[in-house]
């Protein structure tokens, strides 16, 4: 057995600004990464828990410990592997190349929206946001066959023949390049997806995923979506090569498919997905009101297992369930031998709801209310023995009703004490995108 990419997930923000999908007031690189990892199933468990996590993209390093907490693996080795196409190719090859004994690895490529700003380089395009998570494990799937960078004078972009030579020389002696070749080039059209055969009939232009108007030139997610599109398009056997030709350099990566990959594309947008203005560079802090109740850092951290992952506890004495988990049975007071139980996070029912209008919100939510005029709060039945109070999101305020089915996602709450506070929120059920559906 060898290691391959065996599964992948696409997660995109629900918020929009014009054609771009952007992080919203409650979505960012962290929440997108967590959502992708959750859908990938990257969590600790009795069978083959993930052994390592790697993030390619603009995730602030101080959030890495939270990423581990979010998937319930506080000791998991997690690393940031830089940003950009080359870093992604490198991270994937390293992961596939690790010894089988190292266990499954989750790799996330994530971008947050970079709004086009006046005076920041003429024509610097805006980009959207999203995350792609890959699961690398022993088994059949997609193997990275090599990657690299080739520098060339900008006056003379390489042609297809040259390309084949390059890939052949770097991918080693074995591969027959029989599949498709994706070429991303600065010429017109700016991006080409080309089918390439052994006989070199030339390049047939086709729109590539990076042309997605909702994404733009996102440096981490666009290349990850190109990989997914190439893997989805081809049959098992030949090597597929993706190349990005820029004026002075070309990055490329080759894959060989030797089995099916579980591909979970982007879920469809809810019909009442909210629009928003382009994200601000910085979010306001909760005003520094010194007295009164607030959730200080230690209490916030202490409650993360239950608030982020719905960890409950089962009592060995009376069999009752306690949620949130507080190391004591709420029914009989037993404090020994309680076992952790994860409550479901998808397809739950709303038991009661309200819409908190501007003026009735705690001060922490002033910024959110200023943009939306209010927000919904729902009491969600997680199991016959447990409920959770969650803010509703991804819909216009006032849209949730008792009886609605909801999923839950980790999202931003507000900024306090110099950092974002995150918590699970309820979203309308997003039917899981069919395997293979998605971004192309």
């Amino acid at each position: 057995m060898t290691r391959s990419i065996v599964a992948a997930v696409v997660e995109r923000p629900v918020w929009r600004s014009g054609p771009l999908r952007v992080e919203g007031p409650d979505e960012d690189a962290f929440t997108l990464s967590v959502a992708a990892l959750e859908r990938l199933g990257a969590r600790p468990g009795p069978v083959r828990p993930i052994a390592r996590a790697t993030v390619v993209g603009s995730l602030p390093s101080e959030l890495l410990p939270y990423l581990r907490a979010a998937i319930g693996a506080p000791e998991l080795p997690a690393q940031l592997a830089g940003t950009g196409r080359d870093a992604l190719y490198e991270a994937l090859e390293s992961s596939v190349g690790r010894a089988e004994s190292e266990g499954p690895e989750a790799l996330v490529a994530v971008d947050v929206a970079a709004p086009a700003r006046a005076g920041e380089g003429a024509g610097a395009p805006a980009s959207g946001a999203g995350a792609v998570a890959f699961l690398v494990d022993e088994g059949r799937g997609a193997r990275v066959q090599g990657h690299g960078v080739r520098h060339h004078p900008s006056s003379r972009p390489p042609d297809a023949t040259e390309w084949v030579r390059t890939v052949r020389s770097s991918a080693g002696p074995a591969p027959e390049l029989g599949g498709s070749l994706t070429v991303r080039a600065p010429a017109q059209p700016p991006v080409l997806l080309a089918a390439w055969s052994r006989e070199l009939p030339g390049l047939v232009p086709r729109a590539a995923p990076a042309d997605d108007p909702s994404l733009g030139p996102a440096a981490n997610v666009a290349p990850a979506l190109e990989i997914l599109a190439a893997l989805r398009a081809g049959a098992a056997g030949p090597i597929r090569v993706l190349a990005s030709i820029e004026p002075e350099r070309t990055s490329y990566v080759g894959f060989r498919l030797d089995g099916p990959i579980e591909l979970h594309g982007e879920a469809p947008l809810p019909p009442d997905a909210p629009e928003r203005a382009p994200p601000e560079a910085s979010a306001p802090e909760v005003p520094g009101i010194s007295e009164g109740a607030y959730v200080a850092r230690d209490r916030y951290l202490e409650g993360i297992p239950s608030r982020w992952r719905f960890v409950a506890e089962r009592c060995p004495k009376c069999g009752g369930l306690s949620f949130p988990a507080r190391s004591i049975c709420r029914h009989c007071g037993c404090v020994e031998g309680l076992t952790e139980e994860l409550l479901p996070r998808e397809d739950r029912r709303v038991e009661a709801r309200t819409t908190v209008r501007a003026g009735a919100q705690p001060t922490e939510f002033d910024a959110l209310t200023a943009g939306t005029g209010g927000y919904d709060v729902v009491l969600v039945r997680l199991s016959p023995e447990a409920r959770a109070t969650l803010q509703g999101t991804d819909r216009r305020p006032g849209s949730f009703r008792a009886g609605d089915r909801v999923d839950t996602r980790l999202r931003r709450l507000y900024r306090s004490e110099g950092e974002w506070r995150y918590g699970r929120k309820a979203i309308p059920v997003r039917p899981g995108a069919a395997p293979g559906a998605g971004s192309a």
């Binding site: 109740a293 608030r307 009661a352 003026g359 009735a360 705690p362 001060t363 927000y375 009491l379 006032g398």
Partner: protein
Amino acid sequence: MLPEGPRALLRAATHQAFASVDRGLERGAVGEAFLGTLGMSGWQLGNSSAVLAEEAGLPGVPAARVENACASAGAALRAGLRAVESGARDVVLVAGVEKMNDMPSARRRYWLGVSGDTEWERLAGLTFAGVYALMADRYLTEHGVGPEALAEVAVKAHRNAANNPNAHFQKPITRERALSAPRVADPLGLLDCCPVSDGAAAVVLASEETARRYTDTPVVVTGDGAASDRLALQERESLTSLSATVRAGREAFQRAGRQPADIAFAELHDCFTIAELLALEDLGFAGAGEAAAMTLSGATAIGGRLPVNPDGGLKAKGHPIGATGASQAYEIFLQLRAAAGARQVAGAERALAHNVGGSGASATVTIFERGP
């Protein structure tokens, strides 16, 4: 006129309480004092009971603050009852105070969430209006009733308050106005919510024997009860019943040897209109889901089968948090001595006070009777 702070409010309430003792009360008779206050705006977060002793003119008297959010004074009343009951003290002063209007509205909103669950409800964006709105949403859904009964609670409260010179609101409102008021946390609108009020109230407790020295018409506490519940709504058995109220009510009725039918009128904790409907059912005055029809029928109006909150209740008299429990006792004292003027409940001999902390995490119920 200069604004009144907590000291001035306490001074006014305690001195009026002392002045109301028929044959006069020498200060030296007071053996202990209990103060209910949340300490909103942080006016005196620690040791505020010393302020009570100072303002009541009780230097050196042992005093302690009792805090149970909106049920602080209800809990202070219980502390006072136990002190007298045990024989430790002959006369006890119980007071409550809250000054809520001395902060900017943002800071006040900050405070309005301090007595609920912070780790789930607050993080989801709820203050008390939101938590009670969830109960109201569930109540209306479960019992298939419209918002008119909620509005009628407010209409009745404002009508009663118009006859209470101490009330925050002094003007009646119509049901239409209540229903069309701006939404706060739907189904609750602005007129479903108690106002932000300043106030203080005080009562003097004495053993039965001692009381006879001061008056021929004492009001007797014949039973009281209290209970707690999970802080967060999500952890409670029911969303449409406050189990702390149920348990406190049962205990109070049992100690008094009375039943709901024995009660002439009730002071119920109507911080939001839905709370009055829940209390009517939890205390056994109405069956599950029947409080709405009972309210719409006029049974809770003065002159009805069970007048509720003849003083206007929290909803219209006002809800200065720490003072509320004591102000309920004050209203009952007036009513049972037939001194409530235009809002008098005719012939009232027994009454019940119900004081809830936060969204139901604590409750006290006290039964008062006209002295023999």
